[in-house]
């Protein structure tokens, strides 16, 4: 198990890469969802103004 995390001494490089990838992919999804909600809210407000 320890060997897995240690990655033959390259732990920083391998886990930073995977972590960064996971981070970017998830962040994009989260931002997209937030954006969608914000847009729906904005349109809701605009239609209520009419």
């Amino acid at each position: 198990m320890n060997e897995f995390f240690h990655m033959g001494g390259y732990a920083f490089y391998v886990w930073a890469s995977y972590g960064l990838t996971a981070g970017v992919l998830l962040a994009n999804l989260i931002f997209a969802t937030m954006r969608r909600r914000r847009i729906l809210q904005l349109i809701q407000e605009l239609t209520e103004e009419d």
Binding site: F4, Y13, V14, V24, A32, R36, I39, I43, T47
Partner: protein, 246 residues
């Protein structure tokens, strides 16, 4: 035939049929990513030269492949937007630019993290790295240009022209490792030759590449649909849609 295609391109119709594509792309992406990660991290051998750092390949190479694939999708959308002025295509250009920039930046940074243990340097100015960096600048340019116009449709058309002028960079990146014998390793997977990598490494690589591709489509449709609703906010079908969801 074009009336048939135009139906699919109309914003309202696009919004409804893309919902399914988004859902299925997401499901496939999650499945492939899980299996791919299992193989990448747990079920593939360490390289006899590079050791465990070879695992970085499974996140770096698909990101680089996607950075180029996204540009081709963006270019296709650009052609459609310029010739037929289809609104959905115009939206796709902007969204692809953003997603493409993310993938390119990811490819560059994971590449740097792979380069340090493998070559001893975070960065070298070899042909492939330089042209990938130029690709990142191109994406930034498209994003900047499309956002600089007050009218988003004009901005999309300007971005479309810029995209098509810059398409020359893609073959340069792709073939740079063949044309110049510099530091970055040569092509491993080619359409015409049998790949030079062992299946135990090829399988995780291809799984991750497909996972990234599915993710790309899921994210693209998600963002494009949100943008579409925003741009079409004054139409009756959007208003009806909102009434339903409330």
């Amino acid at each position: 035939m074009f009336t048939f295609l135009h139906k699919y391109a109309s914003p309202q119709y696009f919004y409804s049929w893309s919902a399914n594509w988004q859902k299925w792309s997401s499901v496939i992406a999650v499945l492939l990513m899980s299996v791919g990660l299992y193989y990448s991290l747990l079920n593939s051998p360490a390289d006899y030269q590079q050791g465990e750092t070879v695992r970085i390949m499974y996140v770096h190479v698909p990101a680089a492949w996607l950075s180029m694939f996204t540009y081709m999708v963006m270019a296709a959308a650009a052609i459609v937007a310029l010739i037929w002025r289809i609104k959905v295509a115009e939206i796709m250009i902007g969204q692809c630019a953003f997603i493409g920039a993310s993938f390119t930046a990811l490819a560059l940074i994971t590449g740097m993290l792979w380069g340090k243990p493998m070559w001893g340097a975070y960065w070298v100015w070899d042909a492939r790295l330089t042209s990938e960096l130029v690709l990142l600048f191109l994406y930034f340019g498209v994003i900047a240009l499309s956002g600089a116009f007050e009218d988003e449709r004009t901005g999309a058309r300007a971005a479309a022209i810029l995209t098509l002028v810059g398409i020359v960079n893609i073959p340069i990146i792709h073939y740079s490792v063949e044309w110049w014998n510099t530091l970055h390793q040569g092509p491993t997977v080619s359409k015409f030759d049998s790949p030079s990598a062992h299946p135990s490494m090829l399988i995780p690589l291809l799984l991750m590449a497909l996972a990234y591709k599915a993710y790309f489509f899921a994210l693209l449709f998600k963002r494009a649909r949100a943008e579409l609703i925003f741009r079409e906010r004054n139409t009756s079908w959007v208003k009806a849609l909102l009434k339903e969801s409330v």
